[in-house]
Amino acid sequence: MIKTFAVLLVFQTLGEGLSFAFSLPVPGPVLGMLMLFCWLLARPNEVDALAPTAMEFLKHLSLLFIPAGVGIMVHAQRVAAEWLPLLAALVISAAVSLVVTALVLKWLQK
């Protein structure tokens, strides 16, 4: 368990460092994820050591969204003032995304 967290934190630190050093527009943890993915491609055996803790951690991904979600308090006024564009944008783009992704994949898949 500690080894998995050590690996995740090391790759996050590398990602944050790279993102800052080269003023990249990509968030540090995403660079960390890409580097970990490449590292697993190079050393496939490592995945067995990381997977159990990582999957248990990701199972409760929902918990990690809560503190940010409570931030809606701070935006209550904005949401009340702009509820119509927000609601319309969310509903329309969810439908567009489902339909376009499914149709393109159906058309391209062998």
Partner: protein, 241 residues
């Protein structure tokens, strides 16, 4: 007891411990309700827990900043969780290799359509620039979406809320839309759901079938990477033009 209950409250509410504990408890309670509902996507545990905490904070007149002093320890874990997404993505490698072009192209086209339609509709209906930018990364999993929102000048906490709402909307609408389009293949259904509704859609897809869940997880990872890599660049180029 030489301190009254009021004094104990004043002492505890000033320490990070209280709101960290409240966050974990709210999640446990919300998850139990979600289980009770038979994993109904309308009973999304994040939405329930947030509503509960907002109610408690409002009733006790606690400002968000005070709450976040405790909740930041949970929030911090979003970074390592994003890095950890490399592991399920790596486990989908055989599927990724077999059909990589079709999957990559549909994630790219579908993701672009989602971002353009969200920003376009909000802009046309008169939303403010910060709101429009906060909407842009809302189709991908929260840790990535918040990171991108911060990079492009949106409001990360507003984005987090929009991500959750999108997840619930997509998971509810998917079955109905796919039936209408006569798309029955579980691979395609799962992939489109994951590209639209990230982790919330993936959780839903796994309840239907293993195949649908695996494709949904793959789409969530691809959409997240593509959005994180391309959205900030595209917006930077558009702003420069």
């Amino acid at each position: 007891m030489n301190a009254g209950i009021g004094q104990v409250w004043v002492y505890l509410s000033a320490s990070p411990l209280l709101w960290l504990t409240a966050t974990v408890l709210a999640y446990q309670l919300a998850y139990a309700l979600y289980q009770r509902s038979g994993f109904n996507s309308l009973a999304n545990p994040v939405a329930t827990a947030v509503a509960l905490l907002v109610a408690v904070l409002s009733l006790t007149a606690t400002p968000y900043e005070r709450y976040f002093e405790g909740a930041q320890f949970v929030h911090f874990l979003l970074g390592p969780a994003t890095v950890a997404l490399a592991i399920p993505l790596y486990q989908q490698l055989p599927k990724l290799r077999r059909n990589w072009f079709a999957l990559l192209a549909s994630a790219l086209v579908g993701g672009t359509a989602a971002i353009a339609s969200a920003m376009g509709v909000a802009w046309a209906l008169g939303a403010s620039p910060a709101t429009v930018l906060s909407l842009a990364p809302k189709a991908v999993t929260t840790p990535i979406a918040m990171g991108v929102a911060e990079k492009i000048g949106g409001l990360p906490s507003l984005t987090a809320v929009l991500v959750i709402l999108t997840g619930i909307l997509g998971a509810v609408a998917a079955r109905w839309l796919f039936d209408l389009l006569k798309i029955r293949d579980h691979g395609i259904r799962g992939f489109a759901l994951g590209a639209t509704s990230h982790g919330i859609g993936t959780a839903r897809a796994f309840q239907v079938s293993e195949e649908m869940g695996a494709f949904s997880g793959l789409a969530m990872g691809l959409a997240g990477i593509l959005t994180a890599l391309l959205l900030p660049l595209v917006l930077k180029l558009l702003q420069a033009a």
